[in-house]
Symmetry: C2
Subunit: 399 residues, 2 copies
């Protein structure tokens, strides 16, 4: 960590340190904040006033009774005045949400896509976002930025979607194209960040979860694709090139079924929606929707039940591997396959409990995602907050 | 990151920021250091003088010729005056090394163990370390601390070996016992840190490797046990309880062979020394030494060749999985099995190259360990340096 000589950056670092501490320990007083941050009381007072003025913090009006003298005023994140827009670009639909600093969804819209042509998708998304921006202005909410989650590999520094096999896109300059479209609609000055969908979904859990937050935290996304977003030491973990967490393409069985990535036996070929569909339909040409599979389960269809249970069992194996690799404090399961319910999730748990018994170690905490089908959009909004409250480059090593 | 009000901690943070920058970019001048750290030139000058006085840095006496005026003096880490002691506790032997700040092994000793009783091991190790401490004093080298690598799960905050199945130890208060033994020999005042052996081996590569250092960096240790030490964003990655990187117990094939951990199909049961031995000997009762296996290979023993190649192939599968999970910048292979050479390592590479071709992605850099059989001892010394040059708690999230 370098104490920089740049005064304005130093001030921002301190301001955001205060925000992060209040997020971690809501209700602290200024005096407690000074102790927690190591800043002087007078510096804390100045920063807190500034943060209150700008809409980051609020003073609770809860007054202590009975105590002698005035009780110190507790401070909280303000969920009323600042917001981020988060967008979810998926294979067949787009959605965008306005999300408050404390994770409440304020406004939102979604639509089915008639085309996955990047220009069309970006144009439709820009219209949706422009409408949310107007609403936010009318509601007197200041927007901190726009985040976008995309099902693919993203060069986040450039905002370029390098490869999104299921759309299928390659080298789409998403950030600059969206920025241009928004400018043509009169929306300018909002920073746009693009990131992988499961990576941002992990941030929905992390930025808007209740303290104390476990670390590492893994969000495991389950749908056509299988992948993980991972938080390590308070930051999104991206790896050397940004592709960390591609756990759907770890080998679960050598010489297993052929995967869309070209390799054989990837976890996705045992767990993903395509694998379940192929087992039910007896062929790989058609991918059944999660709704269809769920209806089959409700009707007691034996093939569907077996296929879903099998997939759940392999999910247990994958989670066992995540457990040994990362020693996570919590694993969150999200994505459409979670809607398959007990036959899917109970099989995973049974498999994991048997591993846990065999080795005598306690399983990590495993939960369903807090925001369900909105995890990616809420997470894209969380990405904006995540980066802002960490003013040093998220990848910076020198800290 | 919090700018603390504690002046002495703040000074230490800045001092060590200077050391880390010089380690990353050797040869910088004071002016360049000021630019790189964001500190003022006068602060940098004071800190640098201090660090030179204490033995951390040295000024090169290389004088520029031909340039107009005096050239700024390049600064480097000083390999002559400070050192750390690193110890390797393995199943049948112990060793300890005195290692300079720049990674040179200055002195060392090792011995076979006649007993794995913790009291005996700790006593023998204390004698070895006490002797190295005396040598260091005679050589006028100041010691920064003592690091110990142990083949098991370590509660590093307490210095307790929670479980080392191959010794077999459970809940050994290693740090305090070693500290007492050393005190009884007149050695006191040196901080002792205990950590998992493959974790510290990763630090041998990271702290003493040549800049620029890849991040994440994974050290994969291959012997009776199979496990990884992982560096993420400039720090040792330990996970929620300190057990991250137990990749030998990830499932490589469900319902595979029974593992020593109680689970089935763990990577260790396909790759580790026991797996190779069992294939060669046709039973699991005896574990052949790596020397014996190598001699069999040299004699052209067909069963040994098949067994080693098979193990190497599965090593390729495990590396493929590490690749997808962590997107590492470099994977370093270490541990005794690396001595099996081409039949082992080439099989892994062939397997990986086929994955790489299938998916069209370039493999991460893969290397053999820089310190060979000394990786753990050198790494234990590196642990001391790693923690000292990062004065904020290595696990601290608020930075």
């Amino acid at each position: 960590m370098t104490i920089t000589g740049d005064q304005s950056l130093m001030r921002e670092i301190n301001r955001m340190a205060v925000v992060r501490v209040i997020q971690r320990v809501p209700g602290l007083s200024r005096a407690e904040l000074a102790k927690e941050t190591g800043l002087t009381k007078s510096t804390v007072s100045l920063l807190v006033q500034d943060l209150i003025d700008e809409g980051w913090l609020l003073e609770s009006d809860v007054q202590a009774t009975g105590a002698i003298g005035r009780r110190p005023t507790p401070l909280f994140l303000d969920g009323n005045r600042l917001a981020m827009i988060g967008a979810d670009v998926s294979v067949d639909s787009i959605s965008a949400l306005t999300v408050s600093l404390t994770g409440e969804v304020v406004n939102g819209a979604s639509e089915q896509l008639s085309s996955t042509n990047p220009a069309v998708v970006i144009r439709r998304l820009a219209l949706m976002i422009a409408s949310l921006v107007e609403q936010a202005r009318a509601d007197d909410r200041r927007l901190l930025g726009i985040g976008v989650g995309v099902p693919g590999a993203v060069l986040d520094q450039q905002g370029v979607v390098k490869l999104a096999p299921n759309l299928p896109w390659r080298d789409v300059a998403f950030q600059s194209d969206l920025s241009q479209e928004l400018a043509s609609m009169g929306v300018a000055g909002l920073r746009i960040q693009v990131q992988n969908d499961y990576d941002v979904a992990a941030l929905s859990e992390y930025e808007f979860g209740e303290a104390p937050l476990p670390d590492p935290l893994i969000y495991l996304g389950l749908g056509i694709g299988v992948g993980a977003g991972i938080i390590v030491r308070d930051r999104l973990f991206l790896g050397a090139e940004g592709y960390a967490g591609e756990v759907g393409h770890s080998i679960l069985q050598f010489e297993g079924p052929l995967c869309s990535c070209g390799r054989k036996g990837c976890a996705e070929t045992f767990i993903g929606q395509r694998a379940i569909s192929a087992r039910i339909a007896g062929n790989t040409s058609e991918v059944l929707s999660v709704d269809t599979i769920r209806q089959l389960l409700e009707r007691g269809d034996e093939a569907a039940l077996l296929a879903v249970r099998r997939s759940g069992h392999y999910l247990g194996v994958l989670i066992q591997n995540l457990w040994t690799y990362f020693n996570p404090g919590r694993i969150v399961l999200g994505g459409p396959l979670c809607d398959l319910g007990a036959p899917f999730l109970d099989s995973a748990r049974t498999c994991l409990e048997s591993y846990s018994q065999d080795c005598g170690l306690q399983l990590p905490e495993i939960q369903l995602s807090r925001f369900g089908s909105r995890s990616v959009a809420v997470g894209a909004a969380a990405l904006v907050k995540h980066a802002l409250v960490r003013p040093l480059d998220l990848r910076s090593r020198d800290r």
